[in-house]
């Protein structure tokens, strides 16, 4: 009964990760033609779903994005639009 689980109860199995992408009703879509790579959306994303790549600049990762719309509301160029998710097929 008193095995290692009780010595280090938290973290011995790995990382707790919730699939928050399933919360989205809308997804942010970035128009790279309008984007000026200012990075404001990256700084403000609470989920860290706006990422940077050396070759392509800023982009949105949909793995955990909750669809809050902050990036779209704060982009000074209006380069991000919130588009309705298709939902379950």
């Amino acid at each position: 009964m008193y095995d290692r689980h009780f010595v280090t109860p938290v973290g011995n199995r790995g990382m707790y990760v919730l699939d928050t992408s399933s919360w989205r009703t809308h997804r942010p879509v970035m128009d790279k033609a309008t984007c000026v790579n200012c990075g404001i959306c990256m700084g403000y994303c609470p989920v860290n779903s706006v990422r940077w790549s050396e070759g392509g600049g800023y982009y949105i990762s949909y793995d955990y994005c909750k669809g809050c719309g902050i990036c779209a509301a704060e982009c000074p160029r209006g380069a991000i639009s919130m588009e309705r998710e298709g939902g379950e097929e």
Binding site: V10, Y16, L18, G43, D63, C68, I70, A73
Partner: protein, 305 residues
Amino acid sequence: MNYLDILKNSPDMVSPGISACQGCGGELVLRRVLQVAGENTIVAVPPGCMAGSGVVGWSHDSGMKIPVHIPLLDNTASFLSGLSHIYRRSGREDVNIVAIAGDGASADCGFQSLSGAAERGEHMLYVCYDNEGYMNTGYQRSSTTTEGSRTSTTPLGRRFSGKQQPQKYVPLIMSMHGAAYCATATPANMPDLIRKIQKGLAASKTGFAYLHVFSPCPTGWSFAPDRTIEVARRAVKSNMFPLWERDGDGWTLNYVNERPIPVSEFVEGIGKFSKLSERQLASIQRAADERYAAVSALASIQNRA
């Protein structure tokens, strides 16, 4: 380094999927503080929305890539004081000792331990994410809830409508503890926030560093989740939440507000303020004017010296 370069080069220390609501100001603050602190960090997150969102672990899983502990709602700063002493005695002052605690855990229940640790000058960075209420247990009022706010313990009624008392302005109280560093910040002013996290971490090696961060809560305050940053921006522009810092050299006003917007523009669109009376609005305006005047006066003393 530019704040964007800092963020690009600072991996997230928190699990990518945590259950904080869409647009949560607290989640944004949590991730930024720990990104800047990095992996050589031990963090305490007392009960509250951030702990409850899974970052302190869930079942046998951890919610962070760094050591994290959930102390009690009332003893975060005491717990970290002990931890900080052990690390200093072991010659490990390089390890960042960080608290990320709500307003309830800081300004109310945990205030005795926080005040004690600040006055003793314990080596740590204590970050209070202030969402103005006990959000994790269902949006009860706290001492930092703005006057007139609708919460579950201050409902809108005919005799009493919203919180009856003015907000306790905690950051100025904390600044009077003589700590190594004390500052206010908001997620809307991101470069300023990142700089203050860095400065706070540096100060935590020689004494107590305190950061009070305005953290809008779309769910508890009733506003659309995409407005979190705008709400924080208006809090600064209306002087509801002036940006300032106090270090060894004295007070500095970080945002000189030459043309403040009226607080009526701050409360606009926030559901918890939907039934404010004229008297309540005037009282909130007065509190905002007073705190800006107080902090400006303190900053001018420094300049005179």
